[in-house]
Subunit: 331 residues, 2 copies
DNA sequence: CTGAAAGCGCTAACAC
DNA sequence: GTGTTAGCGCTTTCAG
């Protein structure tokens, strides 16, 4: 079943049918109706492969992700999805389970499969970037790890996030402030830590303790337990993300140490789930919607050739003060 | 840049080039190498729109999801992704934010965009099913809400899951067993409850209390708090999912009620996160990998026309006994 | 083993 | 306004 069936059924020519499909204004209303009726009756839909072939574009934007199951991704993706829909594009997601070295096997990475690609929080992105450049596929980076001055990307100022979180604890009178970071392969992790160190330095303080761990509840739990065991518990903790923070609070509570009464805790990411526990977590929210939106703009500009030069946009995160932080308890 | 450039560069004909692209064995090795070399040098990749057009298939399977951010989805998707890759297909995800009524606006829902579609945990799937049938797009349902005897689908036996969870509590000596279900629009929710009621009945017991709520930590929290306030706390609780269970445990702990010492709690879904808290949650694990795998098989059979008749497969979930359940405390 | 020719379904000039 | 003609880039008969 194809356009020719519609041609027969409607009695008009193939060109007119095509025009109706593409909403061309230069079709007499009577004929348009005839065509529409025929399409309706035949339950016809144009073949998108043929359209893509002749137009040289697909109307689809691909997004490569390495993971689901995280509020941050969820929000970025949904924002991009909506924004693209507004512009007449579709978003398609592809999971790229990091397969170590070797050629990337991502089906999106083919010119003409998609009009452009968004790489969300890529891990070891170099190979992807190189491949996309080589294939001349328009793409941008969201929340990437490395600096690429010749690729457009949107980043969150994790340094500032770390700084603000720590500054908040300092403002509450804390001086024994520890930090538990995530996996150090992430730039975001080292940036957050850098912000933490800087905020302390600006207040003439030094890190009370720094641990690195996974972005998981259990690693936060373990770190806190260790401090308790060694009797080196700080009065405030800046956790690298909300899961770590949750683990910390959990461990403290098990030992009868109250948050925020005895110890203040700040998280990062504003995971949806984390905000449902009590005390509600003070955390740093990343501007996911903005990231998605700006990323889409950047990519579409590039696709439409309106791009001046690659841009790196750094967005500010926002400290959300809730209930897991409080003034330092007077001795 | 297209196949003709490769033709020129290699000195062979377009047909031979095409054969090399498609790994046809009927090409002399010398010529194959020439073509390969030319493709390599030109950095050539066949145009997939053209291939799809002429072949009448895309090699892509679409999956429509309504939500990310859940271990269950994550596992199903990854399983399907891998299985499809093994069979030479690619998986592409599309987020379908439930837009109420109206025509579905899912770009996947176009014949020739994809070779087939998997609907994962669809909400109000009727309209989708109707549309896909109308468009004659091969599809299957995973974890669907309604019974469709003319569509292949893979379900989890939520009744059994509820039964097993409850039976476990009964075996531990509990008789005051309450249930907190999720949103009742989900078939899974009512099935789990049915299993709960049946297990009780088989032991000559009756439901101690039944609440319905969202699949969230806070609703579990609220339900437990309410019971405590009204002094109607059961000795065991079967929660509709892990988040609810987490909320319950959180509320109990706030009141100094220990799990599992004072109250036993069972969850559902084995959310990755939930297993990191202590006590580690006893829960019901759904066979996500199997679902993904069987779903893919069913879909590919349908696509290849090897399908006898639509099949509904019901898989058994598995009770994972961990630390949030214990024998009824002797008074 | 190789190539010439036809055509997948559609759009974009260009005439009328 | 409308239709004729030529491809988009590729695969697939069917001869040779």
């Amino acid at each position: 079943m194809n356009i020719h069936d519609v041609v027969k059924k409607s009695g008009l020519s193939i060109v007119t049918v095509s025009r109706v499909i593409n909403n061309s204004p230069t079709v007499r209303e009577v004929n348009r109706q005839k065509v529409l009726k025929a399409m309706e009756e035949l339950n016809y839909q144009p073949n998108s492969a043929a359209q893509s072939l002749v137009r040289g574009k697909t109307g689809i934007i691909g997004m490569s992700i390495t993971n689901l199951n995280d509020s941050f991704y969820d929000r970025v993706i949904k924002a991009a999805n909506r924004k693209l829909a507004d512009q007449g594009y579709f978003l398609t997601l592809s999971i790229s389970e990091h397969e170590g070295e070797g050629e990337t096997n991502n089906f999106l990475f083919q010119r003409d499969r998609v009009d452009g690609i968004i790489l969300l929080s890529p891990i070891e992105e170099e190979q992807y970037v190189a491949e996309l450049k080589k294939k001349k596929i328009p793409f941008i980076l969201l929340d990437n790890q490395y600096e690429h001055d010749d690729v457009s990307s949107v980043l969150v100022d994790n340094f500032q996030g770390g700084y603000d979180a720590t500054r908040h604890l300092i403002d509450l009178g804390h001086t024994k402030i520890a930090h538990i970071g995530g996996p150090t392969i992430f730039l975001s992790v080292t940036e957050r830590k850098r912000g933490y160190v800087q905020a302390l330095a600006d207040a003439a303080l030094t890190p009370f303790a720094i641990e690195y761990s996974g972005f998981t509840v259990s690693s936060g739990y373990d770190a806190a337990k260790k401090w308790i065991r060694e009797d080196t518990l700080p009065t405030a903790i800046f956790a690298g993300d909300d899961f770590i923070a949750l683990g910390v609070i959990h461990a403290l509570r098990e030992e009868g140490i109250m948050v925020p009464h005895d110890v203040s805790v700040v998280g990062f990411d504003d995971q949806k789930l984390a905000s449902e526990f009590f005390p509600r977590l003070t955390t740093v929210r990343q501007p996911e919607a903005q990231m998605g939106s700006i990323g889409v703009d950047l990519l579409l500009e590039q696709i439409n050739g309106q791009m001046e030069a690659p841009t790196v946009t750094k967005l500010s995160p926002q400290l959300l003060v809730r209930e897991s932080t409080a003034y330092l308890k007077q001795p």
